[in-house]
């Protein structure tokens, strides 16, 4: 059934409203209102006698549509509207609201030409990235400033807080780090064994595993796991504190959020990540030794001897020295993104994701730089 029927009625028009006029029918009413002719002059009588349960929203759509067609309160309006047949009680209220509504409801701004838009977008991007870079440098500066403060005011070093984060980011990560390091080195050793066996060079699997684990894989895997676990936790924890105004509350109490929230996390990771790396190294070697025994029948004693021949004195340190650097990167990215959260829950999710992705990227980038550096200085 039609919700509205328009009839020519002598000089003017007659609009019969019928059927269900509640909110439930608004889709149909909206469509039929859109189909009304664009030019109506003279008088228009709205007949409500057959409309059932008129709701506010459908009546509002009718009134706004009519005023778009030129209906007005004044005698000079192009279309004079009269309501008959028991119009809904809310119609007076809605008519008043409609009239009081500012006529120009912010017309959508004209679209910019494509090229101009693209250049503008580029400019905005440059400005945004520039601001971002300077904010990141500023953030780093604040951390350094607090570290400087520790020497004059030892209380700025929050030992309990650091301990808590060492526990959460380090101790609780031991099982997963150990397991992953073990499994990955088993995989690498297995792949190596398959290839090297062809040349009868089975024993070099030991070289492959030990050098690979100690120099690269142990520390890199650990850093990536920690970035996923703790980088996101740092960002989310601080982000929620920002949304609850807790960070502002700290500032208002004269406390430095960098000192209370950021530095303990950075220091905790600097301590925890190298220790986790040592565990990952040990488990990686264990995995290599196990696979060598099972697949290549190299007994552990022989594995150990070969291991000592394969390693240079610096191999272990070449991996471990990277750990604190990765720790600083992960902790800084996580806390920095957390501090950027404002306004909404979506922002929190976005920045937590950014924190994880960016810290993993930074870790791998730094690892590549280390590889080049170590190659140059023959470390």
């Amino acid at each position: 059934m039609n919700a509205l029927t328009l009839q020519q009625d002598g000089e003017g028009w007659r609009l019969c409203l019928s059927g269900d006029w509640s909110l439930a029918s608004i889709g149909q009413i909206d469509r039929e209102l859109g189909a009304l002719p664009d030019s109506m002059l003279g008088t228009l009588v709205c007949d409500w006698s057959r409309a059932e349960q008129p709701g506010i929203a459908p009546v509002w759509l009718l009134l706004t549509r009519l005023s778009a067609l030129g209906a007005g309160e004044s005698a000079t309006a192009r279309l004079q509207v009269r309501h008959e047949g028991g119009p809904p009680s809310t119609i007076e209220l809605l008519r008043k609201l409609n009239v009081n509504r500012p006529a120009a409801l912010a017309a959508p701004s004209a679209a910019m030409p494509a090229i101009e838009g693209a250049i503008g977008e580029l400019g905005r991007w440059v400005v945004r990235e520039g601001a971002e870079a300077s904010a990141a440098v500023d953030f780093f500066g604040r951390i350094v400033a607090v570290i400087g403060e520790i020497f004059s005011r030892p209380r700025a070093l929050r030992i309990p807080s650091i301990a808590r984060h060492i526990y959460e980011a380090g101790v609780t990560a031991i099982p997963i780090v150990a397991l992953i390091a073990f499994l990955i080195s088993v995989v690498v050793a297995y792949l190596g064994a398959q290839q090297l066996r062809k040349f009868g060079a089975d024993i070099f699997v030991v070289d492959l595993v030990t050098i690979g684990v100690l120099r690269e894989m142990g520390v890199l895997l650990t850093a990536i796991i920690v970035a996923g676990r703790s980088g996101s936790a740092f960002a989310a924890e601080i982000g929620v504190m920002r949304l609850n105004d807790e960070v502002d509350a700290l500032r208002a109490m004269g406390l430095n959020p960098v000192e209370l929230l950021v530095l303990p996390r950075v220091l905790a990771l600097i301590i925890a990540l190298p220790l986790l790396t040592v565990i990952a190294d040990a488990m990686g070697l264990a995995g290599g030794a196990l696979l060598s025994l099972l697949e290549l029948h190299i007994p552990p004693a022989q594995f150990t001897v070969r291991l000592q021949e394969a390693l240079a004195p610096t191999t272990f340190w070449a991996g471990l020295v990277k750990a604190p650097v990765f720790a600083v990167l992960i902790a800084m990215v996580g806390t920095y993104r957390g501090m950027q959260v404002r306004e909404s829950a979506r922002e929190l999710g976005r920045l937590t994701t950014v924190a994880v992705v960016q810290s993993i990227f930074m870790v791998i980038l730094a690892d590549a730089l280390f590889a080049v550096l170590f190659e140059k200085i023959d470390f």
């Binding site: 509640s22 909110l23 439930a24 608004i26 889709g27 909206d30 469509r31 859109g34 709701g55 506010i56 929203a57 509002w60 759509l61 706004t64 009680s89 809310t90 209220l93 809605l94 609201l97 009081n100 509504r101 500012p102 409801l105 912010a106 404002r342 306004e343 909404s344 829950a345 979506r346 922002e347």
Partner: protein
């Protein structure tokens, strides 16, 4: 205004809510009649918000029944529940606007979900709801974080009104507002109550608001509810109620009312 003979819209009977050993409601009864503004008062921790959550079906009580429009909300099928939810508007204490959507999108959220219509019509309805609650048209594009406390409360009300409910639940609608904004909110509530024939259940600590708007008041005392008209409850001899309505914070209100 309120029809005292009609069937109650909200009826709560023998409600018991416990958190561990702590008993919040202990056989609470409540009836809200059509077309009245019903105020719920009670001390902090007396379970006002818990009561609201129970009525809305967001919390299952340990015992007792809740009926909305004569239907037990625990025994509804999913489609019936959905119908019922759509006929109740709710505002939460802190507005609970979805922070990643702007005001217009917040208002459109339930409309889009239940009543498909053109984008233009949706925009028109945003303007309708904004003007109903007295927000300027340009509030539509703002995000919740950009709104003041008073605007947030109004925007939440606009969202609650968007499905044209006949029953409105408000949790502390005037808390955190300055007296002028709070008074304006009271007037808005009275206006909507008369114009749209709404039944309102309002949790409030604001005595001015109670005296200005409410037809009847229910006080949660010792896990039960004492219900009376505003004048009646002022005469109530219960020590807590007496203290609540006649304590030092209440005198200014009373004086103002009698001037």
């Amino acid at each position: 205004m309120a029809d005292s003979t009609a069937k109650p819209i909200v009826r709560v009977h023998g409600l018991v809510n416990r958190f561990g050993a702590q008993v919040v409601h202990d056989g609470l009864d409540l009836e809200v009649r059509p077309n009245e503004i019903f105020g719920i008062v009670g001390g902090s921790g007396s379970g006002k918000s818990v009561l609201l959550r129970t009525i809305l079906g967001l919390r299952r009580p340990q015992d007792g029944t809740v009926e909305l429009y004569g239907r037990d909300i625990q025994r509804l099928s999913q489609p019936e529940r959905l119908m019922l939810v759509q006929s109740c508007g709710v505002t939460f204490q802190n507005g609970a606007l979805i922070s990643s959507l702007n005001v217009a999108q917040n208002i459109q959220l339930p409309l889009r979900e239940y009543h498909p219509m053109s984008e233009k019509a949706l925009d028109e309805l945003v303007q309708l709801n904004l003007s109903l609650v007295g927000l300027p048209p340009d509030a539509a594009g703002k995000y919740p974080a950009q709104l003041s406390g008073g605007m947030t409360k109004r925007a939440a009300l606009a969202r609650a009104l968007s499905l044209e409910p006949k029953l409105l639940f408000l949790d502390e609608p005037t808390s955190g507002l300055d007296p002028i904004s709070a008074a304006a909110f009271d007037e808005l509530l009275l206006y909507l109550h008369t114009e749209l024939k709404l039944t309102v259940v309002m949790i409030t600590h604001d005595l001015d608001s109670v005296f200005r708007t409410c037809n009847r008041v229910g006080a949660i005392v010792e896990g039960r509810m004492i219900t009376d008209t505003v004048d009646g409850i002022l005469q109530n001899a219960h020590p807590w109620i007496h203290e609540y309505f006649h304590g030092p914070r209440a005198h200014a209100v009373e004086k103002g009312a009698h001037d």
